[in-house]
Chain length 199, copies 2
């Protein structure tokens, strides 16, 4: 994060046009197409504009040289007078439909699944019945991680613990017993996020 606002008003207009285009197509096109978007006729000037927007921290480039938007590109500050000044109000989601939350919680889409939480055995960790667990699939975990294990053919969400050299599954609720798995403990994945929807 560098400048956070375009140096001059004209670049702000160009940024707005680019944001509108991106909202439609979810991509930044070639310089030639950007000439139409910006309403100018010179590719070199388009490049100059994008270079400035890059400096200002609104766009960046992939290793392949493709222009992509940064998070600043989507940030919209809350323009409500009643909002106390200096509050940590974050981005409202989406100019266009950029997926802010998914992006935050999911590092590796191909290894991530969503599993609904059943029961209140983890209520001590603030995990309630009906919550959605964001789980990254892998079979190795550390003691202290909250893991999804497969016990008796069912998913179960518990904290991974160790007792006397053996792994155990600890619920975060005194009403439930600690699970001592016989044989090998089959771990499906570890908890990387939690989502709850109200109403």
């Amino acid at each position: 994060m560098t400048d956070s606002n375009p140096s001059n008003t004209r670049d702000a207009e160009y940024l707005a046009k680019l944001q509108d285009y991106y909202a439609d197509w979810k991509s930044i096109p070639s310089y030639a197409s950007l000439c139409d978007v910006f309403g100018i006729a010179s590719k070199s000037w388009v490049k100059a504009i994008l270079d400035r927007l890059e400096k200002a921290g609104f766009v960046e480039r992939t290793p392949d040289g493709i222009w992509i938007p940064t998070s600043n590109f989507f940030a919209r500050h809350v323009a409500d007078a009643s909002v106390p000044a200096g509050m940590p109000v974050m981005v409202g989601s989406s100019h266009g439909d950029y997926h802010v939350i998914d992006d935050m919680l999911i590092d590796t889409p191909s290894k991530t699944t969503l599993i609904p939480v059943k029961g209140d055995s983890m209520i001590g960790a603030g995990i309630h019945d009906g919550d959605l667990a964001v789980v990254e699939k892998r079979n190795l975990a550390n003691v202290g991680d909250i893991v999804v294990a497969i016990v008796d053919g069912e998913f179960t969400l518990k904290t991974l613990g160790k007792e006397g050299g053996k792994f155990v599954l600890r619920p975060e609720n005194p009403d439930y017993p600690v699970i001592h798995p016989q044989g090998t403990l089959e771990i499906f994945g570890i908890l990387v996020g939690l989502v709850r929807k109200y109403k």
Copy 2:
């Protein structure tokens, strides 16, 4: 939404790799670069794969011919908790439902903001310090709703209650006092979702 699953398992693997790449770079690169991503050496075969993924409804093209993901591309599978059998390779299976978390939580993007939770005054409702509150801006709420109110120029997250005909803000933690606002109670919005990121 057309097919919603790749015709064969190999395309599902390619899709997974493309999703992982996109999570990193938020763009689909050139065919040449996709060769590295997919682990193959032929541009023509990359094109064939993307054509099939387009048919399956995971990617599409802009008027400029640039490949972009569709909404299907981002949808994560929600597992059925009681049926873990045959789990690991059900990538792209047609049954079960797929969801994008942002779409789940956010109905009205223009009225929704994300506010970090500070403190443990709502810990009884499973809302912890550091969680991210998904808040829909509005100034009317019902008793029982969890609301974001503005008290002394600061955001505060509490349950809306009523005592003797007057609204009060109730924390979900016995260590904290019930707030009796003097004058009018300024409500910023109501809690519609909660997001937590582990590690």
